[in-house]
């Protein structure tokens, strides 16, 4: 509360300042503001929920330091994807302030779980400038996630749910591939991805992301990995949850789990490199190994029947 004395003191202070030439203090004040403001801005949004994966809890303080070491060049100090490298990158770095993420296990329109972010960080984003940060320690990755979440109030206001379940994968068969093809047509996947999955559908050239920047559909024929993983489970999750921020919608309400698996099996047949990728070390250790075999067997059966 202002007292008479404090008001007088304030008046006297202002009078003293007023006697100085404006040029005498303008520069220091600006310098002080310049020094203080950038430091206070990120901390002003440090209110997100606790980040915990397994028995490891993320530290905001350490996460902030790690963010400045590893991430700020692309994602920017404010997490808005406006780092110094952003103009040269395609696709552009993620804007964390929007709280919109492609790779999620949650339904479209919802924030990702901590584990989603953890896996994205460890995996990297294929065909982008985002590398795998798996070389960081587990603690460091969780610290980073804790800090990244502070950029968007959504992590404070919303819960990362509902999580879209991924049921066990049924074995592929010639019938499932045919059903998958029908679903591919029915869902009009070819409008963007093209009939042969080359990403050259009639709408491909018109697509834009949530920032109104041009975006190209995934080309199945050249890809061995997806943005959000490389296993069949990852592929299932991608089109059941959608890739938020891109034109790729969620098909959770349109497809039953069996249908989704049929589509997974069919989409794998579009990947010319899939057999090779299934033979490389990365996929050998993945849970998709056996289903991958069954798809190839089914594909051979289809080819043989033709």
């Amino acid at each position: 509360m202002w007292t008479e004395r404090s008001i007088e003191h304030e008046k006297a202070s202002r009078a003293r300042v007023g006697r100085l030439r404006p040029q005498a203090f303008r520069l220091p004040v600006l310098a002080i503001l310049a020094a203080i403001l950038p430091a206070t801005l990120p901390s002003a949004v440090c209110f997100a929920q606790q980040t915990r994966i397994g028995n490891v809890t993320g530290s905001l303080k350490r996460g902030k330091e790690l963010y400045r070491r590893y991430c700020v060049g692309c994602h920017g100090v404010l997490g808005n994807g406006q780092g110094e490298n952003a103009p040269y990158l395609d696709p552009r770095p993620r804007d964390f302030t929007a709280g919109v993420f492609k790779c999620r296990s949650t339904d479209t329109g919802h924030i990702p779980t901590d584990m989603d972010l953890y896996e994205t960080l460890g995996r990297g984003l294929h065909a982008s400038a985002m590398p795998s940060w798996f070389p960081l320690t587990r603690q460091q990755r969780i610290d980073l996630i804790a800090y990244v979440k502070t950029f968007s109030p959504r992590f404070h206001e919303e819960k990362p749910e509902p999580v879209v379940p991924v049921p066990p994968e049924p074995p592929a068969s010639p019938e499932s591939l045919n059903r998958g093809l029908e679903i591919f047509k029915k869902m009009e996947c070819a409008k963007c991805h093209g009939l042969s999955g080359r990403g050259d559908g009639p709408s491909a050239s018109t697509l834009t992301d949530s920032k109104d920047r041009p975006i190209v559909p995934y080309d199945f024929t050249t890809g061995e990995r997806f943005k959000c993983g490389q296993t069949n489970q990852d592929l299932y999750r991608i089109f059941m949850t959608g890739l938020d921020g891109t034109p790729m919608p969620s098909y959770l309400k349109d497809l039953k789990p069996d249908q989704a698996w049929d589509l997974v099996h069919y989409l794998r047949t579009l990947q010319m490199n899939y057999e090779n990728s299934a033979n490389n070390g990365a996929v050998k250790t993945s849970p998709a190994r056996q289903p991958g075999r069954s798809i190839r067997n089914a594909l051979r059966a289809v080819s043989g029947s033709k």
Binding site: Q23, P28, E65, R68, G73, A129, P135, Q139
Partner: protein, 463 residues
């Protein structure tokens, strides 16, 4: 306060605050090998704890053959204008001191006799220049070429190699051919000290007095092939090298034998302290003791009478959040012919009581990484000769009898590096360092301890 004074104080205040802003700015920007930074859009701090010292992400990047693995590694994926070249040089002011240098009594008069003097030199200077180009020739084929000039502009090839990565689809098989840095436990090529006394690990280059071993130490780049492998996050690593016994010098200057080097290490996470790493290494080589001669002059490449030597040890790198300690132990042994400088074809010339010299040494180097923009470094090194090549009491060339502690070395370094202005295309570090080395009995005339010290401050920049 007058108008003039107010302006001056405002200006000074602005300078100080700007300095503070630079120091504590939340937007550090840095690159170490800017060629990589430009290619991959990653800051130097992503790969370097404080450049040029690597962190584990940088180690993995290096182990992967300068590839990130996100399908943009091959040069075909880069802009045609991309040219992977970096420069590094250090304009500096430095002071060098030697407390017991042998000088003529009367300068210019060789007949006046020698005396020991405390000699100091100082002034502005320039380091050598590294012209560094590295990257990928294709996916899974990497290269590095490092023409390096000394301060006078004389060039040599510090390194030049090609590496075939992920052979048979396995990250455990990578083959490098050419002149390369050994997979040393703690890299001397990427450490944070630059002075004449502290710009190398004494231990990596130590040889006993009178030793004629041509091996310059595991800190020197060597010519040969290296097979190395690593786990996905490089927590587990191994490297074995087969090298020409010529200390990395071109034109086959010494002999026809081969050296062997191996290094294995394992990292593990310990609570939230950071990544800890332990490992062991061994270098086993041979060096000639005499050469064929022509008119009494040695013929390069005709080394004969090869005799063995080895260096072996263990190390650990320990992190306690921002504070880390690099610790290393080494045991060294040279053959008696090497240690005494005796040609192996004249075994009778071996001095009575001569033995193969052995020594033990170690160092502790600590860093406190305040931020990616500021790091403090301190190091203490000690080398103790456990067995002299000549019997104790043997007169040295200066007439002083050999003592058991002759050649024992103690070295200390203290410094910091501050990276004030860095962009996504280049890096600049302000470097200050003091280093002091004391060698027991090494004074050329009196046999007293010789001490050298260096102080350096300068701008280390890379573009």
């Amino acid at each position: 306060m007058s108008y003039w004074k107010a302006n001056v104080s405002a200006f000074v205040g602005a300078i100080i605050l700007s300095f503070c802003w630079l120091l504590f700015s939340p937007t550090p920007r840095a690159f170490a090998i800017p060629a990589f930074a430009r290619k991959y859009a990653l800051r130097c701090s992503a790969c370097h704890e404080a450049w040029p010292k690597l962190n584990n992400f940088g180690q993995v990047f290096k182990d992967n053959g300068y590839q990130l693995g996100n399908d943009r590694d091959a040069p075909i994926d880069q802009q045609p204008s991309y040219w992977p070249v970096s420069f590094r040089i250090t304009p500096q002011w430095h002071r060098e001191n030697n407390n017991r240098m042998a000088v003529d009594h009367t300068p210019g008069d060789a007949a006046s006799g020698l005396t020991e003097a405390n000699v100091t030199a100082s002034g502005f200077d320039l380091s050598g220049l590294d012209l560094w180009t590295a990257g990928t020739l294709s996916k899974n084929i990497s290269f590095l070429v490092l023409p390096s000039a000394d301060a006078s502009g004389n060039f040599h090839f510090e390194a030049a190699w090609v590496r075939f990565d992920n052979l048979l689809g396995s990250r455990w098989l990578n083959l490098k051919v050419g002149k390369h840095e050994l997979d040393t436990p703690i890299s001397e090529k990427r450490f944070l000290t630059l002075t004449a006394s502290g710009g190398f690990f004494q231990l990596y280059h130590f040889t006993a007095t009178s030793d004629i071993n041509s091996f310059g130490g595991i800190g020197d780049n060597q010519l040969g092939v290296e097979l190395m492998g690593h786990s996905r996050n490089s927590y587990t690593r191994y490297a074995v090298s087969l090298l020409s016994s010529n200390n990395g010098d071109v034109d086959l200057p010494t002999n026809q034998t081969y050296d062997f080097y191996a290094n294995v290490n394992q990292a593990f996470e310990f609570h939230d302290l950071g990544l800890q790493r332990v490992g062991g290494y061994v270098y086993r080589g041979e060096s000639p003791t005499f050469f064929l001669t022509s008119g009494g002059a040695p013929i390069p490449g005709t080394g004969r009478g090869n005799r063995p030597f080895y260096r072996a040890g263990a190390y650990g790198i320990w992190y306690i959040h921002k504070l880390d300690f690099s610790t290393l132990y080494m045991h060294g042994k040279d053959n008696v012919f090497l240690g005494t400088g005796t040609p192996a074809n004249q075994p009778m010339a071996l001095p009575p009581g001569a033995q193969a010299p052995t020594w033990n040494g170690g160092f502790v180097e600590t860093h406190y990484t305040w931020s990616p923009q500021l790091t403090l470094v301190a190091r203490y090194e000690a080398i103790r000769v456990s067995r002299q090549a000549f019997p104790i009491g043997t007169p040295l060339p200066n007439g002083v009898p050999l003592t058991p502690d002759f050649g024992n070395t103690d070295a200390a370094v203290l410094g910091y590096r501050w990276y004030p202005i860095m962009t996504s295309r280049a890096g600049l570090a302000w470097h200050q360092e003091f280093a002091r080395v004391r060698i027991r009995g090494a004074a050329p005339l009196t046999g007293q301890d010789e001490t050298t010290s260096s102080f350096l401050m300068g701008f280390d920049f890379a573009f």
